[in-house]
Structure formats: C-alpha cells, structure tokens
Symmetry: D2
Subunit: 356 residues, 4 copies
C-alpha cells in the first residue's frame, strides 16, 4: 500500500466528539498524516493530554492543539476537516479553498442547496450562499463520482445518513410512494455534542428516554432535499428523534408505503423479491452497507465503533406497509467515519483505508 | 382512613418484576393486608431474603413464599393477583373465582374477547374461552364502572396502556381517523421479565438499541380490540417495539391523521383547541394521567416509580399529522400499579390509595 | 397521627439533586408543610415546571421558586433546610437562627468543630467559626439526643455516613484498632451535583470508572473528626472515592484491623460473635440501619430511594482483617433523607415519618 | 510486513466474551489466519451469524463454528487458543501439545504452579498436575523470554493483570513491603462471562454496585503466587472485587506500604523519585503499559477496546501509604489481547501486531 503517497490533514475544532473520532481515525490512517488540530480551549496542550485514550500513539504525545488560523492551516495541510458547530464553517472554508485546500465540513453549513431552506431551518441568513452550489453532499454511496473532485464536501448529518441510505434506493426505483414517509429515530447522547449543558448530564440522561425537536428538527431540511432528488419530486417527511441512554448509536425505524398495494401471498412474495433485488443491486458491493438477511434485525451494538450501517426490512401484510430499520454509529458512519470515507474517495485511496 | 376495612390479598407468581412491584405496592398499601405470596422456586424463603430491598418492612421478614395452591389461597385472601407467564392463569382463576375470590390477572390470558384472535396471536387454543366474556379489561380510565363489580380483571399490557390512553379519547371523539395509526415504542428491559436468557444479559442490552417482534407483536391483539371498540369499527395499527437500556419505562410516539385536513393558521388553531378540550374533558380529573402543557415533552424519568402516564401532543402543519407521545413506568402504570388501581376501584378504596 | 401538629418548612437552594430530593420527601411528609423553595435560577416558576416528576402533587403545581431571602423565610417557616454549595450557608444560617428558625444545613459548612481543620481542607477561612461549636452533627444514630434541641444541624456528607455508621460502633467498643483504617468508596454521579460540567456529561461517565480526589478528599475532615471522637484518640484514615455510572448509591468497602489478632477456628468464632453482638446492640432497633445476615452482601440497588444503609462484614483468617461493606443512597441516607430524619427528631415526630 | 509468514490459529470455545474478542483480534491480525472456531452450541453456523458485528469481514461470513475436536484442530492450526470455563482445558491442551500445537489457554487451569493451591482455591483435584510445571504464565511484561519458546501458555486472569503489573516492579525493587497489600477492584459485567444467569441480567446489574467473592476470590491464588515470586517470599494479600454496571473495564486501587517510613518534604520527594524511576525503568519501553503523569488518574474509558493498562500513583503523607491505581479492559489486556500479545511473542511477530 505504501506506493500511495500520504496526504497531510488537519482538523479544525478537534475537541468535540466528532473531532475526537476524526483524531482517532486519522492517527490510524495508513495514508493520512495528521499535521494540525485546533481548539481555542485547548491550544498549547497535546492531543494525549486532552484525549488520554490516544496517549499510546507517539504522534498524540507530540501534536499540540493550536489556535485555528486558516492561513497557517493552508500552509500545512492539503485536506482540512471542519468539526465546528453550525454557522461558523464559512470563515474557514472560503480562505482554505482559495488557498488550494480541500475542505470536508462536518457541520450543516453546506449541506443544503437552497439558502432559503437554510434560513427557514437554521433561523439566520446563510453567510455564503454561493458556496451552496459548489459543495458536494458527502454521502459516498450516492455521490461517489462528485466527491472525487470536490473542493468542498458537506458531510451528512447523523440522522440523515440513517434515513437516506435505506430510503433512497426504494424511492429511486419507484418501489415506495414518496408521500407519507415516517422516520422514528433513537440517538445516543454523543449526538448532542461535548458541551456543558444540564440536559446532557449523566443523571439527566441515564434511566431516561425522551423525544425532542418535535415536529420540525433541523435535519429534516437535508433529508427532504436528498429524498426529493431521489424521487424527482418534492418529498416531505415526518421525523421524530429521541434521546436514549447510550453513548453512541442511532436506530431508525421507517414506515413506508409500497407504490402498489399488496396482499399476503404471491403479491407479497413478488414485492419482497423486488425490494431484495433493489437493495442487492445498489448495496451488494458497498463496503459499509450491510443489508441483513434471515431473522436478523439491526442492533446498534453491532455497528458501534465501525463505519457500517445495518439495514433490515419487513413487509406487513396486515397494514400494507414496508418497515425498514437501520443502525449506525452516529459518530462514525453518521459523522467522522463518513468524512474519512469521502477523503479516501477524494484522494484516490482505497475507500476502506483506515476504516476497517 | 382507618374506617375503611382492610382486604386480604395474595400474589401468585411473585418472583418476577411485576410480582416484586406488587409486593412493594401492597406492603405499603393502607387498606391491603398481604397474606400470601407464591413462587415454586422460592417456596419456604422469606420475601426479605429474595427481595432485600423490602427487608426493613416487618412483614417482609415474616412472610414466606409458598407453593401456589388455589384452594389454600382462596381460604386466605379475598383478592388474588396473578403475575404469571401467559397461558397458565386459567388454572388459578377458575377455582379462585369459584371459591369467591376476586382475581386480578396481569397476564394476557383474559384480555381478549375473542378466542380466535387469542389463538391467532398466541399460537395455541385458549384454555377457557368462556372466561373471555366475563373478564373485564382493567383499564380504569376506560372501564372504571365495570371494574367495580368485576370478579375477573384482566389488567392491560404495558405497551397497550401507553397507546390506548392517548389514542382512545381522540378516536372516540372522532378527531382522528381510525386508519393508518402508527405506534413506535421504546421499552426498558424489565419488560422482558426476570428470566435467565442471554438476550437480556447486561452486556447484551447495555449500549444497544434494537427493534424486535416486527411486524406482529402479540400486544397488537388487545390494542386493536380496544381501539376498535373506541372507534366503533375495525382498527388495524402498525406497532414497533424497541428495547433500550433502561430498567424501566416505556416511551411511545404515535403518528395519527386528523379526521379533517388542516392548514397552518386558523384551521390548526381550531384543531388544537379541539384536541386540548378533548383531553381535558376526559383526563382533567384522572389522578394518573398528566397531559403536559407548554413546551414540555414526556420523559420516562418523570414517571418511573409512579402510576402516572405523561402525554403530550403536537400538530405538524408540514405533514398534516398529529404526533402524540406518552411515557409511563412499564412495571407500574403498565402492570402492577394499574392492577392495584383496579383493586382500589373494585374494593371501594380511594383510587389513589397506596399509589401516591 | 394527625394529633401531631404540622411544621412549616422551607428549602433554600432547591434546584440541585439534594434539594429536589428534599422537595420529594417534604411534599409527602405527613407532618411537614412545604411553604417556600428558593432558587435564583428558577425564581417565579413552579416546582412542577422545574421538576415534572412532582407535577401530580397539587402543591407542586402551586408553589413557586422564590429568590432566597432570610427575613422572608423566617416569617414563613419554622424549619429551613439549606441545600447550597459549601461556603455560603452562613449568610442564611445566622439570620435564620436569630429570627428563631431552626436550620438543617446539608453543606459541609458547619460539620467541623475546628475552624483550622476547615481551613486546611476547604482552603479558605471559616466565615463564622463561633457557629462551629453550636452546630450539631446530624447523624441521628450517634447524636439523637443532641439533635432534639439543636438550632443548627449540620447534616453529614454522603461518604462520611457510609463510613461512620459501620465503623463507629466497632471503634467505640474497642473491637478494632484506630490505626490503618482504609475506606474505598464508589459513588453514583448525583454526588457531583446538578452542575453543567463536562466531567459529568453522560458520555464522560457512562462506560467509565475512575478514582478522584486522591489522596486528600475534603470529606476526610469530618470522617476523621467523628472517628476520633468515637475512638477517643486521633484517627487518620485512608479514603479513596471512585465515580461509577449509576445515578445514585454509594458502596463503601472498609479494611479494618481487629484489636486482637485472631486465627481461624475458635478465636475467629469468638471475634465474630463479638462483632455480631456489637452491631446488634447498637443497631437492632435502628429503623434505617440494616445489618445483613447469612451470605448477603450490600448492593446499592437494595437501598436506592430509601433512607436505609445496608451493612455486612466478613473476617478474613488469611489476612487477619475485618472487611465491612456498606451501601446507601447518597441522596437519601447520605443527604436529604438523613436531614428529614433529623427534622423528625428535632420536631418530636416519629423518626420514620415521611421516610418509609 | 508481509515477509513474516502467517500462522494458522484456532479458537476452542469461541462463543463467550473472551472468545468473541479473540475472533475480533485474530480476524484483524496481519500475521494470523483464523482457520477454526469451535462451539458445541453454535456448530454449523457462521461467525457472522452469531457475531453480526463481524459480518463485514469476508472470513466471518465463511468460517463456521465446529464441534471441538483436538485431533482435527491439530491438523488445521499451529496455535490454538482455549477460551473455555475452568476445569476443561486439560482435555484439549494435552493432545494438542502432543500433536505439536502450541496452546494459549485463557482459563485458570494452568496458571498455578502448585496443584495443592489449585485444589484449595478451585475445590477439585487438578486433572494434569504435571502440566503445571511446563506451562508459562503469559504475562509478557514479566515472562517475555519464557513465552518465546513456550508450548503451553497460561494467560493471566483479568484481576491479576490489573494488580500484578502495578505491584511487581515495586515489590521486586524492594520499594514496598510485601505485607499488608490491599487490592480493591471494580469490574464490568463481561467479567462474569456470557452465561444465562439471573444475577447478570440487565435489570440486576444496572443501577447497582456490589462486592462479591469476599474475602477469598479464586484469583487470589495466582496473584499471590506471582507476587511471592517477585518478593522472593510468601505474600498474602487482601482482595475485594466489585461488580459495576459497565460492559468492560477493571479499575483497581491498591494500598501499599513503602518499605521505609517517609514524611512530607524531602523524604517524600526522594521516595517519589524512586518510584518514578522504578516504573520508568521497567515500563518506559513497554508498548501496553502507560504510567500516567501530572494530575491524570486512570479511567477505564481511556483503555476500553485497547490492550493498554493505565497506571498512576500517589504518596499520602498523612497515612504514609502509597496508593497505586490501574485501569484496563478486562477482555483485552485482561484476557484476549494479552493472549494475542503472547502469541506475537511466541511466533516472533512484532509484539504489537494486531493490537494497535
């Protein structure tokens, strides 16, 4: 593998959970050389001090957090990951792109194609609407070709990934209706980020389950954008996120209406074959999508720590619905792993490099 | 309160989680005298030995588990709770009723009115179909009058309670359609019972979320029976249970279609008022139903250990749906607390006795 | 019980975990009337809004948090509980006492008899050293008589309670040496309080165990003070607290040296009888101390939510040591329950009122 | 690295937690080829079916569990790992060794040098006492040279590893006394194995902390054996294990007496330097031992999933004791990772191969 040259990479905002996971993945990546990590809060301290779990890695003991500075980063790195709260990516992405760096942004800032949808869901004007047309939505299973040459990759959100990968193939193939889609999701607490907030204290989350962001969660905007593209018509969905007491993992259960009514028996068998073939055509060779067979159902514990999304489905002859369930690690396939997957594609590395 | 005479009560199958919770509630009940608890496994040992958490209660140190024997129980107790796995309640309920005991059964054995539905969902013939017409479904908010004189009370399941209490008033008032109802539920692990099964080991449940029983969970039978009665027409629903790593608690999110289409603005305001009035009419004086106001959403941690069900709802003008969410303790309002509530009604005690 | 008149009580600093538990206990107390709760942060909002779990209690829906003001509180209440961070109790305790209120303080501010020990462990001068001689250490099993007439009760810390109750009787009876005592404790996260701090986020505590405050935790000061009184000589102990991922509960394992060397056989049997008799003499009639028998060992899940401390012990003939283990709920027996127990004693109520 | 030839390996008893972790490590090992896994229960099913988390690995989808048979295994594999309950390893180890296979046993069967100590702690006669003298205790940091040519490696227990690595260097250097050592340990639930037992159900472990095996846990036998060798005199220690609600991780806190009394000031500084130098001499180049510096204390979350043990220490001038704390993953450094580390040494692979 060593004939592949190595790429120099940096992470802006490396102190949150996504940033930490990027550090983990990039320290172990065979073709990436992590040259800079920034954090205002931790500037001057080594990665090993702040993240003791990496302390056995020599580079973690040497590399120090620095104050974020686009000009400096552009001199050091060829690829820069932005792991910042939404709303501030523009101030790094623009100068980094101008100075020739490729940028992979993990925030929501460049995921939407429409500045007005952004404003509707994020409640402020988009600071750089011209970038929205340049950015590529970094869902490799859908946009692999575009990612190859992208200068600015907008890595998808955790909930969107758990919904888009199971639904897009079915919509695209016309197997399900584009109306009436419902997505019910449960997320681990890392999804809320590493921020000092009473709501995410151990005692407030442990032995608790609760819905939130009902009925208009911000992630709806990118979910509906991508489903609309797949369906080639406007799609509006219902989405309810819930917070559950696990560190990591998203389990999404989707309620879908097959395009044609079916009954138990031959109709149901035929539809099941169609669905099975559809997923197989699209995902059989995808290294990070695992469509379950037999009686198996997704379980977050089977994917936590990996870049894999598990998908299973059932037809219900009683209701005429198709139930699709997915499980992923919200910090890996739902964030940092997927971003590294995009980097691999953008750099011509094996897509699974550093991820298996 | 002491003018109320006390009733002698017994529990058959007191070694599981529902049985243990019944022990807790009845030891502390002002009008109940717990005279017998049975368990084949623990016969001869005191309640305090098996459940050390009750050891400070004098009766727990004296009362010993006995082998279950209907004739003996009938001599000792006026009310007998059955907390057994499904399928075996008949052999106790019949002789106990014949000998004049009132029976409150926590299993699924007498919840269905139709023996053929029972067979469809439980995969064996019902052993005493004649009892199905006699038994009263012990959901006090719906069947309070019938419970007063019932000889055989079939206490509802945990999932059904979390679905029926939010949905029945809306169906009954014609506010929602009876078609297309979806219930997505998350349950704590106590719902699986205290049984030595690899699937419920700590390491198999902790840091895991998973659906199960998709798409035809047994509880659907009683849910659909009661919703059909409320709607006065046959109702078929979609129901997906998930297992989450908490000891106790069920959170249910319901997707409902208002009977009349609405748009944001005056229509939505009017519908919201209708819903609000409906719940208020039905539940304002119910001691164990808490309809949340303002921005609050249900959270299992607010109801665990209590007999309360929390309910909140939201209209979504984007999709035209009504989202209703509920939270309960699956072992209290979803099982033993509700059974004690029925006992209070059946005995003419204050309905909240021993439950607040 | 109604011949006992009711006492008016207030809580200053009711928004933390100890304050919330006081609210729970006092709302349900048969002889207490909760007339005021203060919180700068939540002033003007009802108890039910801030603590939805109490929303079914009518008073919780009426009573509003107010800004803390000693003069106002003194007019409303006869007993005032202070549930504040350490260092600020004096500014309430002094005026409240002067205006005739009895004060039960849950902080460390009045637990030490020596202002210089306070300064050594808390790193600032004590603001009212004269109060240190007036305050009574509110450990009912040891200071019941003094509590009866106390104006200022310093309720013990959570770790100290878990250590003092098992050790004091043994030291007092001369059964163990006063040298070489080691206490190894594990505490749930509520012990850290409800404060927005990264260290206590769900993801930082879940799937983690860690020691902290090694080797000189502040609670050592009151532990050693009370052990020294029991032993009638200066006692220095080793104490290591650990943080574990449970909401509530402290498990303490104590390593003690019997005063006389023993060997397996008759010597060990005799010593075991001495220890058994000692605990029985002291604790047989204590409603909240449960000395375990047979093979049982303490488990926090048996005491969480109760005011009980479980104690078990083992002699180890291999090492000549006595191992004593205790389990308590850090927020109940370790804080608010014990404070209510003191209130019951101080007011002449049954000691278990509102606590069982 | 590919110039290193690959070794064929098998796992007997691959269905437990240690077995599963061996599967994970060996599937990803650059120089190991996993050719057989056995399990009576799962014979005929693929690794991917039983452990869905490995399903993305091609070999996991092909390799099937087989019935264990020493003769067959000897034909297929050069190294065989035994991950069986204690007491049954002999029946595999003897024929495998005879047929030229090297055996790495994860049970307690060959860890003790004395058959009578084995009988004392395990309550039955050792079935092959002659093997006890041949087996090498597989603690690489202590027995690296002997492991190189060992035919039978007895991989250490999880608790022993967490105690021996911190204590042996101090004992060996004469820095601490060999008397009075106390080890207080907290372990995650995976330590109890994957077995259907009520005590390890989610609801019995979650929100619970409890000691067990007090005062004579079986692991004491190997701990004392190895400490006695290091001290060159018989060592008896106190050891208390506790069960805490995490999947993985052991945190051990050790109470040690320095050989020479010290006081705060110059004596303490000198002793601290001695300890620091001791650990540095022994562990500075060990890839899997991380002695913490500055204010850091061990935390299981920093080592879970890795083969690293974290160690920190503090001198307490108040008590004259040395407190040493360690954290490890009980299933990795405490079991399967350490076994693979031994395999690497035995086969001449880089010691960190497949472990970083």
């Amino acid at each position: 593998m060593k004939e592949l040259s190595s790429v120099k990479v940096a992470i802006v905002g490396a102190s949150g959970y996504s940033g930490e996971e990027l550090v983990r993945l990039l320290l172990g990546h065979p073709h990436a050389d992590l040259v800079a990590v920034t954090s205002r809060q931790y500037a001057g301290r080594t990665v090993a001090e702040i993240f003791p779990r990496f302390a056995s890695h020599p580079k973690a003991r040497e590399l120090k957090f620095s104050e974020p500075n686009a000009t400096d980063l552009a001199k050091q790195a060829q690829i820069v990951f932005l792991a910042l709260p939404h709303g501030v990516a523009t101030e790094y992405a623009v100068p980094l792109n101008e100075q020739g760096c490729r940028v992979i942004d993990l925030s929501a800032d460049f995921r939407l194609r429409s500045a007005s949808v952004y404003q509707d869901f994020y409640a402020h004007e988009h600071p750089a609407p011209e970038l929205l047309t340049k950015a590529i939505y970094g869902l490799p299973e859908v946009y692999r070709e575009q990612i190859k040459n992208a200068l600015l990759i907008a890595s998808p959100g955790c909930y969107p990934t758990s919904i888009l990968l199971p639904v897009i193939p079915l919509l695209h193939a016309g197997i399900i209706k584009s109306e009436g889609i419902i997505a019910d999701s449960m997320s681990g607490v890392s999804g809320a980020g590493r921020k000092a907030d009473l709501a995410y204290l151990f005692c407030e989350c442990n032995e608790s389950v609760r819905p939130y962001g009902v009925p208009k969660h911000r992630h709806l905007s990118e979910i509906e954008q991508e489903l609309s593209i797949a369906a080639d018509r406007e799609v509006t969905i219902q989405f309810t996120p819930h917070l559950i007491p696990v560190n990591r993992g998203i389990l999404t259960t989707l309620y879908l209406a097959p395009a044609k009514h079916f009954q138990a028996g031959a109709e149901m068998t035929a539809l099941a074959e169609t669905i099975s073939r559809c997923y197989s055509n699209v995902y059989a060779n995808e290294p990070f999508v695992r469509v379950l067979e037999g009686g198996a159902l997704p379980d977050t514990k089977n994917v936590v720590g990996t870049n894999v999304i598990e998908i299973a489905w059932r037809l219900d002859p009683r209701t005429g619905r198709l139930i699709v369930m997915s499980a992923e690690d919200n910090v890996v396939k739902g964030a940092s792993g997927q971003a590294v997957q995009s980097m691999n594609i953008a750099c011509g590395f094996p897509e699974t490099a550093g991820l298996i």
